[in-house]
């Protein structure tokens, strides 16, 4: 089993009503629950929007990234999968596509060669 990181972009639910937001959250719970039961879920975090960016030799600090909301990283999961195809298959179950979300699938590098 390899580790893959699913990086979630966008998926802005701010236009939904409280009831619809709760329903959408329910879909996430079901997804995570399924991944846990299949021993695929390793961990994950949610990221708040905003933050700071440090850049260049002078380590200039700016506010942001204030990119378009669909390009903002909203969080990530680390999952176990046999190969990239299987990881992509897992990523397809993410509930955020209906909200314009994007999922990037990346293999986590192993150092214990």
């Amino acid at each position: 089993m390899e580790k893959y990181m699913l990086i979630f972009f966008g998926g802005d639910p701010s236009h939904l009503s409280p009831e619809a937001q709760q329903a959408h959250m329910g879909k996430w719970f079901a997804w995570v629950e399924k991944l846990r039961n299949e021993n695929r879920y390793v961990g994950g975090e949610a990221l708040l929007p905003g933050g700071k960016t440090i850049k260049g030799q002078k380590k200039a600090v700016t506010d942001g990234p204030f990119t378009e909301s669909k390009e903002v990283v909203a969080g990530y999961f680390v999952v176990n999968a046999k190969n990239i195809e299987e990881a992509v298959q897992i990523g397809k179950d993410c509930p955020d596509y209906e909200l314009g979300g994007i999922v990037e699938v990346r293999e986590v590098m192993k150092f214990d060669m």
């Binding site: 009503s17 009831e19 937001q21 329903a23 329910g26 879909k27 719970f29």
Partner: protein, 423 residues
């Protein structure tokens, strides 16, 4: 399915907490800043959703939400205070950095949340605001429904609801309606206005011909929840409110039995009484008993007593029609209306004879354009064996109703009569 799982776990947490937080924040920021309060609520829920979907629901989800909302409220109040124009009994405490946080914190305590919700109910149901706008505002601010959801539940478009909300806000501004004064439960008229709005909200859910049963159920549930809020507070715990809740419980107990498999309405006589909700009937009886304490006697008392009579009868035949007739006579004296007269006449028909019922019906004026009137006359003609007149009346009723479920019911009666007369 998944939605159901979450709802089992936390109920309508988001929606109900949205209503609670909106009430508290509006009290802190002033009713004129309702939009700002709603923005904070929206931000708070958004933060909860983005975090919880990764981390799961925290042990005390409400407390989690309040912590976020409090922080946002304090930030907002600090900014507001630079160009302070908000005056209230608490504005002094909110202006000083020493008392700002403790004051905000104290408003998020359980009893204060309840207090804010009650103030909000009275403000939303202010008699200066038209009824339609009152209901829209109540559903939006206290029940956390979106404009689209409200539009759906009234089978209308979003634009109409936006207009109703706009009218409500206009009145709030003009009449300087605020949440700051103590709950005006003892002021004549104010309690009545609140109860009437809740009654309309419940009726909208119970009687509407909305195709989606879930939406209708939700409106009833919200009306009952807000009514219970009134009863649980010593200041607003009026016998009238208890009678209204009793009425709602009795009505709601028949919700499942009222609809046939094909979505058609089943009449009281045809309903399977074994699926009436006994727990709700018991609650209805309890609140009706409670409402009898004190010397207040309202139309809700009578209507609840009538609904209670039906709930107590184990078969249609065992219904105590004499009592129901007496109750309708009392109601007619209190609230004269042709519809009450109609119901009374029907009770007369069952208590005495179809002939008496028919005579009572024929005395009623101003109902010639109402399908129920003609349907009721048709029923008694049919019982008296006068098929020809019964059919005429049912046909008249069909042409007067726009509801498809009602039409279906009437047509099935017509068919049954025609089949009977051919034999």
């Amino acid at each position: 399915m998944l939605e159901q799982q979450v709802n089992q776990l936390i109920g309508h947490l988001f929606r109900h907490e949205a209503g609670k937080m909106a009430a508290v924040l509006t009290r802190l920021l002033g009713f004129q800043s309702l939009d700002l309060a709603e923005d904070i609520v929206q931000d708070t829920l958004l933060k909860a959703m983005t975090t919880w979907k990764f981390k799961g629901i925290p042990e005390n989800p409400s407390a989690w939400l309040y912590t976020v909302a409090k922080r946002k409220a304090i930030d907002t109040l600090r900014q507001q205070h630079l160009h302070a124009h908000h005056h209230s009994e608490i504005s002094y405490a909110l202006r000083s950095e020493w008392t700002l946080s403790p004051t905000v914190n104290s408003f998020f305590l359980d009893n204060e949340i309840e207090d804010s919700q009650l103030r909000m109910i009275f403000a939303c149901c202010h008699p200066a605001i038209p009824y339609e706008s009152q209901i829209a505002l109540t559903l939006k601010t206290l029940c956390g429904l979106s404009i689209l959801e409200i539009a759906n539940s009234f089978l209308t478009n979003e634009e109409t609801i936006v207009k109703r909300l706009y009218r409500a806000r206009e009145k709030i501004r003009e009449e300087k309606i605020s949440l700051e004064a103590p709950i005006p439960a003892t002021m004549p008229g104010r309690m009545d206005a609140v109860l009437h709005t809740l009654y309309l909200l419940f009726s909208e859910g119970y009687n509407s011909s909305h195709p989606d049963r879930l939406i209708r159920h939700e409106l009833c549930e919200e009306a009952m929840r807000l009514c219970l809020l009134l009863i649980n507070n010593p200041i607003t715990k009026a016998p009238k409110a208890q009678a209204l809740l009793a009425l709602m419980c009795f009505q709601a107990s028949r919700e499942d039995a009222r609809l046939g498999k094909d979505g058609g309405i089943k009449l009281l006589r045809e309903q399977d009484r074994s699926i009436w909700s006994q727990p709700l009937i018991e609650k209805g009886k309890f609140y009706l008993e409670q409402s009898a304490e004190g010397d207040e006697f309202s139309e809700y008392h009578i209507e609840a007593a009538i609904a209670g009579c039906h709930a107590r009868a184990s078969t249609f035949e065992e219904t105590n029609w004499e009592t129901i007739e007496t109750l309708y006579t009392a109601l007619l004296r209190m609230k004269p209306s042709p519809i009450v007269e109609l119901n009374r006449a029907i009770a007369v028909g069952y208590a005495h004879s179809p002939k008496d019922g028919l005579e009572a019906l024929q005395k009623i004026k101003d109902l010639e354009n109402h399908y129920l009137y003609h349907a009721a006359i048709g029923d008694f003609y049919s019982e008296l064996g006068d098929t020809k007149n019964a059919c005429l009346k049912y046909e008249m009723a069909v042409s007067l109703t726009s509801s498809n479920t009602e039409k279906k019911l009437l047509r099935s009666k017509l068919e049954a009569l025609r089949r009977g007369s051919e034999k």
